[in-house]
């Protein structure tokens, strides 16, 4: 009945209205992407999830030579910095010695797709421009990125009307329950890149580690038979998990906005019922079936994670 009502409601709204809302949202999002790429800004934000808050500093800018520079650092606890000079991204973390990789973007609390072509998400997400409100003392436009199916969370973005930049980001369930949010606490837009970025420009980054092409395992002895529409495999490999040192076989999937990791490994237990925890919007689900431990991690609802874990088939059979 609810679905029927929903359909009725949808059809009753004129299509032109939806179209203009959608167009508005897309133009806001592409403006965000442009602003992220072109503007020089220094900003602070707080990631609020569960019962704790993580404060970050974020600098981004373009120098005179046209090189894009970026610094993202966690302000609480041990140092976690991400530096980017052009396409060299360096990670400075307490667990590992600093390293650099060649990459287009850094990975942090802000999805990298926001700085790219957002329309690639159109197949699986709807963009809805909702209304205006005041965030960070500025006039903001609320844009919702809503999944077309029920297997994903929604992203709500509050975008600055003046600059187009992100002021607030929230991850919300389909029922509107808030799971995780990124609240910007300060935003400075400058003519030139900030001093920190200019320092980075002359700084020596850690050595780039090169990831060989054949590092990837193309064939693993298992497969995931079900994923929500739009998810594609980014990579597959065999490695050991850092803390537990457990050998696993691993696949990473992405729908452009969220990533999902699937791990398969041998377990001492024969069976273990599925158990999961939520870290903000990130679910970590783990179960043992017939001596194989299957884990699913990602910013997806627990029910989706469970379906993915259940669809894992061990054996060499090919996908239909």
């Amino acid at each position: 009945m609810r679905i029927l009502n929903y359909l009725l409601l949808l059809t009753s709204i004129s299509f032109s209205a939806i179209a203009t809302e959608n167009e508005q949202a897309v133009s806001s999002l592409s403006r965000l992407s442009q602003s992220l790429q072109q503007l020089n800004f220094s900003t602070s934000f707080v990631v609020v999830k569960n019962n704790h808050a993580e404060p970050y500093h974020w600098f981004r800018g373009v120098n005179e030579q046209g090189t894009s520079l970026e610094i993202l650092s966690l302000l609480n606890g041990p140092r976690r910095d991400v530096l980017r000079k052009g396409d060299i991204v360096s990670y400075i973390e307490p667990e590992l010695s600093p390293y650099s990789v060649i990459a287009e973007h850094i990975s942090g609390p802000i999805p990298a797709i926001f700085g790219k072509d957002i329309t690639t998400l159109e197949k699986t997400y709807n963009f809805v421009s909702v209304g205006r409100s005041r965030v960070l003392g500025r006039a903001a436009q609320l844009v919702r990125i809503v999944s077309k199916d029920q297997h994903r969370f929604g992203h709500w973005l509050w975008l600055d009307q003046e600059t187009g930049l992100l002021l607030k980001l929230a991850l919300v369930t389909r029922k509107g329950q808030l799971l995780e949010q990124v609240q910007f606490t300060h935003l400075d837009i400058t003519e030139k890149p900030s001093d920190s970025l200019l320092q980075l420009q002359s700084a020596e980054l850690p050595q780039v580690i090169e990831i060989p092409k054949n590092y990837q395992e193309n064939e693993l002895a298992w497969q995931v038979n079900w994923l929500p529409a739009g998810f594609t495999q980014l990579k597959a490999n065999k490695h050991r998990i850092n803390i537990t040192n457990q050998p696993v076989e691993f696949m990473l999937f992405s729908d452009g906005l969220v990533e999902v990791s699937v791990y398969v490994g041998a377990s001492q237990d024969k069976q273990r019922v599925a158990d999961y925890v939520m870290d903000g919007a990130t679910v970590v689900l783990n179960q043992v079936v017939n001596g194989f431990e299957v884990s699913v991690v990602g910013k997806i609802p627990a029910s989706t994670a469970k379906s993915i874990a259940d669809s894992v088939v061990i054996g060499m059979s090919k996908r239909p």
Binding site: K213, L252, S261, V277
Partner: protein, 196 residues
């Protein structure tokens, strides 16, 4: 003042009259109550019941003493009444509680005995001579079993939390590396040195 009233007081003092309305009248009328005082005094003197030091106006002194007492605005009536009430409740409940404990203890005993019997039957079904005392084995075994069970549960929980933590951090790590562009310059064995 009529003579008859004084007579009535006299008869009251002598306990000949039991009429309450007369008492009321006597309390209201100052002259009559004085008369009542005097008659009693006379009686006391006649019966030789007067203390050696005679204070004639005892009632006035008492009245003064009462007047000097500090006025208690909130009389602690409840504090004097509550304990009694409470004590009564406790008394009412206690026997019930004791009964309940006794009953449950009896119930446990019955259960325990039944279980012991069942256990012994299960473990040693065809033993003719009972070598293990009935009460001696069941208790420690069940106690031990329960404890290790709880321990392993806690351990399993910690293990699970650790597993979740490891998976979460590995997930973030893999996302970071997933953005990296691959090169085909390095042989595969070099890949083992990659941060994972």
């Amino acid at each position: 003042m009529s003579e008859s009233k004084f007579e009535t007081v006299s008869s009251l003092v002598d306990s000949y009259q039991q009429n309450d309305s007369v008492f009321d009248e006597l309390i209201k009328d100052q002259q009559l109550s004085d008369t009542w005082d005097r008659y009693h005094l006379i009686g006391d003197i006649i019966r030789d019941e007067v203390p050696s030091t005679l204070t004639l106006d005892l009632s006035a002194e008492i009245a003064n003493a009462i007047a000097e007492e500090p006025t208690i605005l909130a009389p602690n009536q409840s504090s004097t009444f509550m304990p009694k009430f409470k004590a009564k409740v406790v008394q009412l409940i206690k026997p019930v509680g004791q009964m309940a404990i006794a009953a449950s203890a009896a119930g446990l005993m019955i259960l325990g005995v039944q279980q012991n019997v069942a256990n012994n039957e299960a473990v040693t079904p065809s033993q003719v001579v009972q070598t293990v005392p009935l009460g001696g084995i069941a208790d420690p075994v069940s106690f031990n079993f329960k404890q290790t069970d709880r321990m392993s549960q806690k351990q399993a929980y910690i293990e699970q939390q650790r597993r979740f933590q490891a998976l979460l951090s590995d997930h973030h790590q893999q996302i970071k590396l997933s953005a990296a562009v691959e090169s085909d310059e390095l042989p595969k064995d070099k890949a083992e040195e990659l941060p994972k």
